[in-house]
């Protein structure tokens, strides 16, 4: 065997390997050494070790449905290919509650989870969202409603002139179960000023999730990487997520999102390569020792890279999705959806056992 102490000594990672084996927390400096290690498979093996300790040979997926209710957004983030400034602009759209229900009814299977996100629409009142949630809840009593990023929650609060905690309470009463992890981007103010100056700050994003966790809501978290941020800023982002997680353990899953360059106003000199995506996923697994799951989001990674990601720390293949707009407007070349059978075969082909899950990662295998 190759991955013995001497091997990790020869590449200068023996101490980190020891810490990982003992389950000890890694520092930012150690994270950086993992990023800089010229042997990607050694880092992948460490991440795989952590992943296997937590999840064995299991790899999860969910039968879900994405709905994007609008692309009208006041934020105009430079990396976004999806946003339209106002409803009158060409390509702009906004769904009614009836439209949303119709889309859900057309899903090939009753979704176990509905993932609804949109933009920061300048006019839609909170009651619009409350009505939408209540209507879906009435129709789909068992489905988990995972809706609205922290960015949208912050925007609703501002528009209504109330606290974001109050927004969360009202939406929870209307049927909201979980928050998706979007809008986190990179927390560092230097980066946000350049790529999403109008969006809520990193602290505000974390604060919305803290409030959701305090209400007993589970949430996910993300990181959009591969634009103008440094590896140090990625590590800072991961550590801030890790610190919040220590408070309430409300994060279920971390989703590393590679930045796709097409159709985006943000021009970058060094677009991500496949190796850097895998390194980032592996380092995320190793740094986020208190976040149970890491997603290989195939829509953004591409199917083949997402398969490889399962060996670099990820344990979740996301879902069947059906109709995704945000990543595809940015140039994602993946198809819009995958079948349950397709996902299961693929997971098995990667050497893992597929486990169909709910939004909280409880196995629903016996119900299939």
């Amino acid at each position: 065997m190759i991955f013995k102490t001497e091997y990790f000594e020869s590449i200068g990672l023996a101490d980190i390997r020891e810490k990982v084996a003992r389950g000890e927390r890694l520092t930012a400096e150690e994270g950086l050494r993992l990023f800089e290690c010229p042997e990607p498979l050694a880092v992948g093996a460490l991440a795989n070790f952590s992943r296997s300790r937590m999840h064995g040979q299991r790899a999860y997926y969910v039968v879900n449905r994405h709905v994007n209710y609008t692309n009208v957004c006041v934020n105009a983030c430079t990396f976004c290919a999806y946003q339209r400034e106002e409803e009158e602009q060409s390509g702009a759209f906004r769904l009614t509650t009836e439209d949303v229900l119709q889309k859900l009814a057309s899903s090939p299977a009753v979704p176990r989870e509905v993932h609804i996100v949109g933009g920061c629409h300048p006019k839609l009142p909170l009651s619009y969202f409350e009505e939408m949630l209540s209507a879906i809840r009435a129709e789909y009593p068992e489905t988990v409603l995972k809706c609205f990023t922290a960015v949208e929650i912050g925007h609703f609060a501002q528009l209504e002139g109330i606290d974001s905690g109050e927004v969360l309470k009202r939406l929870q009463r209307a049927g909201l179960d979980m928050l998706p992890g979007g809008g986190a981007e990179i927390f560092a103010p230097r980066v946000r000023e350049q790529v999403c100056p109008r969006k809520l700050t990193g602290d505000q994003w974390l604060d919305v999730h803290r409030k959701a966790h305090a209400l007993g809501m589970k949430t996910n978290c993300t990181m959009l990487f591969g634009h103008i941020e440094t590896r140090e800023e990625r590590l800072d982002h991961l550590i801030r997520l890790r610190e919040l997680q220590d408070e309430h353990h409300g994060f279920v899953c971390f989703i590393p999102l590679p930045f796709l360059t097409e159709n985006s106003a943000l021009r970058i000199d060094h677009p991500l390569t496949g190796l850097e995506k895998l390194r980032t996923i592996a380092v995320s697994r190793l740094m986020l020792d208190n976040v149970p799951h890491i997603k290989a989001y195939w829509v953004m990674l591409g199917v083949k890279e997402a398969q490889a990601a399962l060996k670099f720390g990820a344990d979740d293949f996301d879902g069947t999705v059906v109709e995704e707009k945000i990543g595809h407007e940015a140039g994602a070349s993946t198809s819009q959806g995958m079948t349950r059978e397709g996902i299961r075969e693929m997971i098995e082909g990667c050497g893992f056992s597929p486990v169909e899950r709910d939004s909280y990662f409880n196995s629903v295998e016996e119900q299939c």
């Binding site: 190759i2 042997e39 498979l41 496949g274 995506k277 490889a308 082909g349």
Partner: protein
Amino acid sequence: MLNRIFEKVIAGERIGFDEADLLYCEADFHELGTLAHAVRMRKHPEKAVTYVVDRNINYSNVCTCGCKFCAFYKAPDAEGGYVLDFDELDRKIEETLALGGTQILMQGGHHPDLPLSWYEDMLRHIKANHAVHVHAFSPPEIVYFSELNDMTPREVIRRLHEAGLDSIPGGGAEILVDSVRSEIAPRKCPAGEWLGVMEDAHHLGLKTTATMMFGHVETARQRLEHLFAVRELQDRTGGFTAFIPWTFQPDHTALSHCRKLTSIEYLRMLAVSRIVLDNVDNVQVSWVTMGPDISQLALFFGGNDFGSTMIEENVVKAAGVSFRLSRDEIHRLVRDAGFEPRQRSMDYTVLEDR
């Protein structure tokens, strides 16, 4: 047991079939890749990744073979069949040379109406008009020409070589096991004839490559049988410059029900190929089927060559997969992986100052 195999490989010893089987089926993914990478670094310690600038020219898509895995061919009486004329060929070669290309990879189908003299004329025409390396005609084409013209494959190779053929691509190998071939490509030459053409070519002084298309109806053991057949011939001739495994792309083919292999399965096979084929210098990664992300990762699973820039590619594209990579993009992927990109010729001589 697995440990002992690792030790053997690290010590530079050859492994046998059962050992390869155990590695392929049992070894940990990252360990297997790292072992293959160690073999690759021993063979190529210079930390470089090579590639060739060339173009796949398909002189015809007319083919009597009707292989089940193919989405490119047209039967002789079907609509959409073509044969390139020499003007079109000239234009394609000139474009290739203008882009810094050094060779053309030319393959077609089994065209029932073209005599050997047509191919000889084409080669003479190319050589008279362009300074370009001609890497052309896979073994099944050579065998087909020999049957059509009633001569031995050796005689066909000799005549084509005389007319200007420089080397032979390793296509049409699929899986070099006859029970597999009779299922997916019943009218294509059997494994022994494929190997025979390569042996003849090597004896006549032509270098060739060898490929493997896996992930259709074959078993894991049959993939290994393929590797061992290549290794055995290479022991006798030393004429293979590179081994190029890729996964079958099922869309739009008669085998579209086959499950698409995952990148993990591709990388395992690549690594085992690098380890088993201790007598073949180079192993190519397949960005055409795997895309830029996985082909870059494959540089740590035994691959030391990025293949070709493929200014033109038609066959895989017909099966619904179309990745494009420019020379700059190949350079960026290679450098980001920690290697220096080096343009090469067909025989893996590095070309300077390109």
